[in-house]
Amino acid sequence: AQTVTQSQPEMSVQEAETVTLSCTYDTSENNYYLFWYKQPPSRQMILVIRQEAYKQQNATENRFSVNFQKAAKSFSLKISDSQLGDTAMYFCAFMKHGTSGSRLTFGEGTQLTVNP
C-alpha cells in the first residue's frame, strides 16, 4: 500500500517570501502521479500542481514549482512570492492507475499561513 507523509503540520511565511513544503511517499510502483492540492477555508479542493513519475523535469505552474526526487521518493512544493491568498491547507497526494481503477492517497496536510 502506498503511504504519503507530510512532516510539517504547520508553516508560516511572510508575504512575498518563498516557502517549501515537504512530502515523502512510499511505493513499489514505477508509474504514478503526484499532486499538491490546496484547500482554502472555503474547503474546496484545488489542484495546485501535478507531476508524472516518468518525467524527470520538475513541474512548474507560475509561482509554484516542485522538487521531485524519484529515487528518494520526495516531492516538495516551493511557493515563490507568497501571497495572502496562498493561506490554506496543502495536501500532497499519490495516484496510481491499475487495471481495476485508480487510487488516490493523501498526506496529513500542512497548514500554511502567509503573514502580511
Binding site: 502521479y33 499532486f35 484547500q39 474547503r43 474546496q44 479542493m45 489542484l47 501535478r50 508524472e52 491547507m89 495536501f91 497526494a93 495516484m95 492507475h97 481495476s100 481503477g101 485508480s102 487510487r103 488516490l104 492517497t105 493523501f106 496529513e108 496536510g109 497548514q111
Partner: protein, 114 residues
C-alpha cells in the same frame, strides 16, 4: 457546469437517523471516490468505484453503503448515524488512465450529527 457536484452542502441530523449524500460528475471519468475529512483535516478514502464496480472498500462501518447506479453517479447512504460520523465528506472522480490525470472534487458535505 460544475464538474463534480454533491448535495447537500450541509447536513445536520440527529443520532440514529438515516441520510444520503448524492454525487454526480459530468467529466466522463471511470473512477469515483468517497473521502472522509475529519476534524484534523485528514482525508481518508472510504470507497472507490470504477465504472459502477466497487474497487476499494476501506475499513468503514457497514452502516455506510455506497451505491453507483451508473458511472456518473456515486451516492453515499449512512444508516443509524452516530456522533463520530460528523465530518466533511468529499466525492471525487478521476480518469482511469492517461496523461494530465487529476482528481476533481465536489465542494464537500459537512455532516453534523447531534
Amino acid at each position: 457546469d460544475t464538474a463534480v457536484s454533491q448535495t447537500p452542502k450541509y447536513l445536520v441530523t440527529q443520532m440514529g437517523n438515516d441520510k444520503s449524500i448524492k454525487c454526480e460528475q459530468n467529466l466522463g471519468h471511470d473512477t469515483m471516490y468517497w473521502y472522509k475529512q475529519d476534524s484534523k483535516k485528514f482525508l481518508k478514502i472510504m470507497f472507490s468505484y470504477n465504472n459502477k464496480e466497487l474497487i476499494i472498500n476501506e475499513t468503514v462501518p457497514n452502516r455506510f453503503s455506497p451505491k453507483s447506479p451508473d458511472k456518473a453517479h456515486l451516492n453515499l447512504h449512512i444508516n443509524s448515524l452516530e456522533l463520530g460520523d460528523s465530518a466533511v465528506y468529499f466525492c471525487a472522480s478521476s480518469p482511469r488512465s492517461g496523461m494530465n490525470t487529476e482528481a476533481f472534487f465536489g465542494q464537500g458535505t459537512r455532516l453534523t450529527v447531534v
